[in-house]
């Protein structure tokens, strides 16, 4: 079981510069928890204080939106997650 998480540039900085992290969780939430356990600096950027997904983060699985139930979304071997930081400048 291997799931690849592709990190937005601002997140990769907090993961020793790694652009891709491999984890083996069976849900998006478990995958992100595993990654933040490995790179503790990521935790605040991935989750709100109540454990919900960060309000400024978007997660896509194999290029598709999984909003609004991101953390509960089931993933399988070979899946790829994109982490995208929301922006709103004009």
């Amino acid at each position: 079981m291997s799931v690849k998480i592709k990190l937005h540039r601002s997140l990769a900085k907090l993961a020793d510069g790694q652009a891709v992290v491999e984890v083996n969780g069976n849900t998006v939430g478990r995958c992100l928890e595993q990654m933040s356990a490995r790179f503790p600096k990521l935790k605040k950027r991935l989750f709100e204080k109540d454990g919900a997904l960060s309000r400024i983060l978007e997660i896509y699985v194999n290029g598709e939106s999984i909003y609004p139930d991101e953390l509960a979304t089931v993933v399988k071997d070979g899946d790829e997650l994109d982490t995208v930081v929301r922006i709103s400048g004009g």
Binding site: R55, I56, G63, S65, Y67, P68, I87, S88, G89, G90
Partner: protein
């Protein structure tokens, strides 16, 4: 019917297969609402005016500041302190005197947004904050007006086209707020995203090509990479969930 001068002004785009004089006439008949004439709005308004859109309403309550000028290409040094819509209207008229520019120096609010967008064929999102984007998204859904989203930060940008009842809206894909305030940006980023928005508008008006509906286009200028993510309508969406599916 296009005049001799119009045929010459737009001759290069009329030459495009599928554009023609008929397409040019469609642009001439169009009424476009552009929310904001900052970085994105400067670019979309410039290219839509140059392309010959008939009426462009620009709405922005800000005044030009020195720190705007790295990216807000409708304004220049001598405009500092003036209303953005005034300097933008002046510049747009100089680019194409045939286009009717309606300059509205008002803040868009729940109280006035309905009146402001009434009668317009589409809305361009060139705002710099998420709350106003949601306001525009909601009114676009309520009035079933196509909505052309764009946003930028640093070297990154994104664009998505919303056709009410047919595609995901902003609320279908976004959860809540982002950090507001001064955001970092280099002028070329709204240049890229604003051009994509203007391209989408022209395609929509012509009825040509495939729009960025149900697709979020994310631009990473530092890696010069475009990524598309599939998005879909949320049946429980606060804004468009009640709107009947028109596909």
């Amino acid at each position: 019917m296009l005049s001799k001068e119009q045929l010459e002004r737009y001759s290069r785009q009329i030459l495009i297969n599928g554009f023609g004089e008929e397409g040019q006439a469609k642009l001439k008949r169009a009424k476009v609402f552009i929310a904001g004439v900052g970085g994105l709005g400067s670019v979309t308004a410039t290219y839509l005016a140059a392309a010959g859109v008939g009426v462009i309403r620009i709405v922005d309550h800000d005044k030009v500041e020195l720190s705007n000028l790295n990216r807000q290409i409708l304004h220049c040094d001598e405009d500092i302190g003036k209303k953005k819509v005034d300097s933008a209207a002046k510049r747009l008229k100089s680019i194409n005197p045939e286009v009717k520019i309606e300059a509205v120096a008002e803040k868009m609010t729940e109280a006035n947004i309905s009146e402001l967008v009434t009668g317009f064929d589409l809305i361009v999102d060139a705002m710099d904050n998420l709350p106003t984007r949601y306001l525009l998204n909601k009114i676009a859904i309520d009035k079933e007006i196509p909505f052309f989203h764009g946003a930028v930060n640093g070297f990154e940008g994104r664009a998505m086209t919303i056709i009410p009842g047919q595609t995901a809206c902003l609320r279908c894909v976004y959860r809540g707020a982002v950090v507001e305030g001064s955001f970092p940006v280099v002028g070329v980023t709204p240049g890229v995203i604003g051009c994509i928005q203007a391209t989408e508008v022209i395609k929509y008006l012509l009825g040509a090509g495939q729009l960025l509906g149900n697709r979020l286009l994310v631009y990473d200028g530092l890696n010069m990479k475009f990524t598309q993510f599939k998005v879909k309508r949320d049946p429980n969406c606060q804004h468009c969930g009640a709107l009947k599916d028109k596909n």
